[in-house]
């Protein structure tokens, strides 16, 4: 569209780019490059990184197991109140995560709706454990997977499922061997988005799981804490998070961001 550029758009777009780029530049400018390797090797960093990566992976795995069937129900069935179910499932996307964390406490806490009876009978407790981090991550990140997979299932050609039925496949076989493989691109995209969201999760995690180094202190929590006491460590942690996020963004770029 050369020659049709509305010129007022260009400086505004430049401001947009600068607004995103400047904080990263400032972070890089303040980075303790000489001691960076030593900073990254400190236990507070490695503990947090290990916890963040594993809990985000576990949350993604849980989201896949329950999120794909949920997306299928939303995309392919006409159960009553379906749009209400969709609104409910996506609520954690727009809800302040702290509120989500509080709600999780009232449900799964020691005196929670479900957590109370479970603790009384088994002694198992979800909050303030690594599993609590996983629970908070799943709560906040699963909607990204569900919405992405749902739109993928809606766009898929259901005649492939008809073809499988004429070949004698049961509904479960069709789901497993035709529906899910055909939706693979949206499942991969959804899983990456879900994982990235889980990795950055702060509010629900700190509310529900606390901030115990080596147990529930994830990267974002460690960054927040380090900013108060140890700027160099905070910057090192931030750079690691940026590197991990970029590693997720690059495979997504072609499929999702390029549109």
């Amino acid at each position: 569209m050369r020659g049709r550029t509305p010129w007022v758009v260009v400086p505004l777009a430049a401001v947009g780019v600068a607004y995103v780029a400047l904080p990263f530049a400032a972070l890089l400018q303040r980075a303790p490059w000489t001691s960076l390797l030593d900073e990254v090797r400190r236990p507070v960093v490695t503990d947090a990184l290990q916890l963040s990566v594993t809990t985000a992976l576990a949350a993604t795995a849980f989201s896949l197991v329950i999120g794909i069937p949920l997306a299928w129900v939303l995309a392919r069935t006409s159960i009553p109140g379906r749009s209400s179910v969709r609104a409910l499932v996506t609520l954690p996307m727009v809800l302040p995560p702290v509120v989500g964390g509080a709600a999780l406490l009232f449900a799964f806490g020691r005196r929670g709706l479900l957590g109370g009876p479970v603790y009384d009978t088994t002694g198992l407790l979800l909050p303030f454990s690594a599993w609590g981090v996983v629970a908070a991550n799943t709560f906040v990140a699963m909607p990204f997977l569900v919405l992405t997979v749902e739109s993928g299932l809606r766009a898929a050609d259901t005649r492939y499922e008809d073809a499988a039925a004429t070949l004698g496949a049961s509904r479960w076989t069709i789901f497993r061997r035709v529906t899910v493989p055909n939706a693979a691109p949206s499942i991969i995209t959804g899983a990456l988005l879900c994982w990235a969201r889980a990795l950055g999760e702060f509010g629900a995690t700190v509310t529900f799981a606390g901030n115990l180094q080596g147990r529930t202190q994830t990267m974002p929590l460690a960054v927040f804490l380090a900013l108060e006491s140890d700027r160099d460590a905070a910057i090192a942690l931030s750079l690691v998070l940026i590197a991990v996020s970029l590693a997720v963004l690059v495979p997504l770029r072609d499929r999702w961001l390029a549109g």
């Binding site: 492939y160 499988a164 039925a165 004698g168 496949a169 061997r177």
Partner: protein, 351 residues
């Protein structure tokens, strides 16, 4: 043996037909878009329930809303070839063909072993590991056919099996399909909007118009005695019988020899010519590999924007011309003309 009394209401379409296909018979359901052909096929396959009627396959009732009987698609002994083949895109040709056997409980090894034999039979041995998107249109169609036949169904359904192919491969694939269809012993039903496909592939045509059957009969009967103007327009195809004379010549009953482009499929052949492929001239056309013969105009019939010209002479055919061409040639009853047709416009198949 299939006996399908189909009553389906779908939007503006009211499908109401009675269809019987014996084992060994190939029936073509022919009609324009929107006539209900695909809906009929989907109803027989169990992909769309009947509103009323009854579908019986051999001695089993598979759908009868009157008694509440409905056998799901997966439990009906039917194979189906879909319009754009619908091969599973992430599975190799071999796994596509093995799919039905695995779904019916065969082990992976046994299913693949059987699938390999089917691929061999359809000249696809070298493409076993190929993904569908790397196959040509003709290969993809053979995989779809092998996949549908691998479960050894009692009924084979084909939905516009040639529609996804471009014109150049269509001719060859049509001949191949005819050969492969002949190897299947059960009942076969194919749906098409192309009269040439129907005539070449089927033993019997069923003309479907707005949800109802308007004529049924052998291709020769339907083309020579169309029951309505509509059918005449739809299947207005010239069909001639002859015997092979050498490799590329067909000797007609009148003694005239027509030259065809491809080697003949057998001794006794039928030649199909679309009316639009026949050109008329006032003088003998210049020396070319075309087939040309003397004829007389026996009848002229205006049909919307075309004129159908019936020719008497050694090759009894009907040509279709524009009104402008008719005026330019100054055609009238009894006008002597030369008729010509290119060898590539002759479709031949074994009788």
């Amino acid at each position: 043996m299939l006996h399908a009394v189909l009553g389906v209401h779908l939007g503006d379409l009211h499908l109401d037909i009675d269809l019987r296909i014996d084992d060994g018979e190939v029936v073509a359901l022919l009609g324009p878009n929107g006539a209900g052909k695909t809906t009929a096929l989907r109803a027989i396959a169990g992909l769309h329930p009947l509103d009323h009627g009854r579908i019986t396959l051999d001695d089993t009732v598979v759908d009868d809303p009157g008694t509440g009987t409905f056998v799901p698609t997966a439990e009906r002994s039917m194979g189906m070839v879909f319009q754009d083949h619908l091969l599973f895109p992430r599975q190799s040709a071999l796994d596509n063909v093995a799919f039905g056997l695995r779904a019916r409980g065969a082990s992976k090894a046994a299913a693949r072993h059987a699938a390999r034999a089917w691929l061999d039979r359809f000249d696809l041995t070298d493409h076993a590991g190929a993904l569908p998107r790397t196959l040509s249109g003709g290969q993809s169609q053979r995989v779809a056919l092998a996949r549908a036949l691998a479960t050894e169904p009692r009924l084979l359904l084909l939905d516009e099996p040639l529609a996804a192919l471009d014109a150049s491969t269509r001719l060859r694939v049509r001949t191949e399909l005819r050969r492969h269809l002949a190897t299947f012993a059960g009942a076969r039903l194919l749906v098409t909007h192309d009269p040439l496909d129907a005539i070449v592939l089927a033993d019997r045509l069923v003309i479907l118009e707005a949800g109802r059957v308007t004529q049924t009969g052998t291709p020769a009967l339907v083309t020579s005695r169309p029951a309505s103007r509509y059918v005449a327009e739809l299947v207005g195809i010239n069909l001639l019988g002859g015997v092979a004379d050498g490799e590329r010549g067909v000797l007609l009953e009148s003694g005239t020899v027509l030259t065809v482009a491809d080697p003949l499929p057998g001794q006794e052949v039928s030649v199909a010519i679309r009316p639009r492929a026949i050109a008329l001239h006032r003088h003998q056309p210049d020396g070319s590999p075309r087939n040309a013969w003397r004829a007389t105009v026996a009848d002229l019939e205006a049909d919307r924007d075309r004129v159908r010209v019936t020719l008497a002479g050694p090759v009894p055919v009907t040509a279709e011309l524009t009104p402008a061409a008719v005026a330019e040639l100054d055609l009238a009853h009894g006008t002597p003309v030369w008729a010509s047709v290119k060898a590539v416009d002759l479709t031949t198949y074994e009788r």
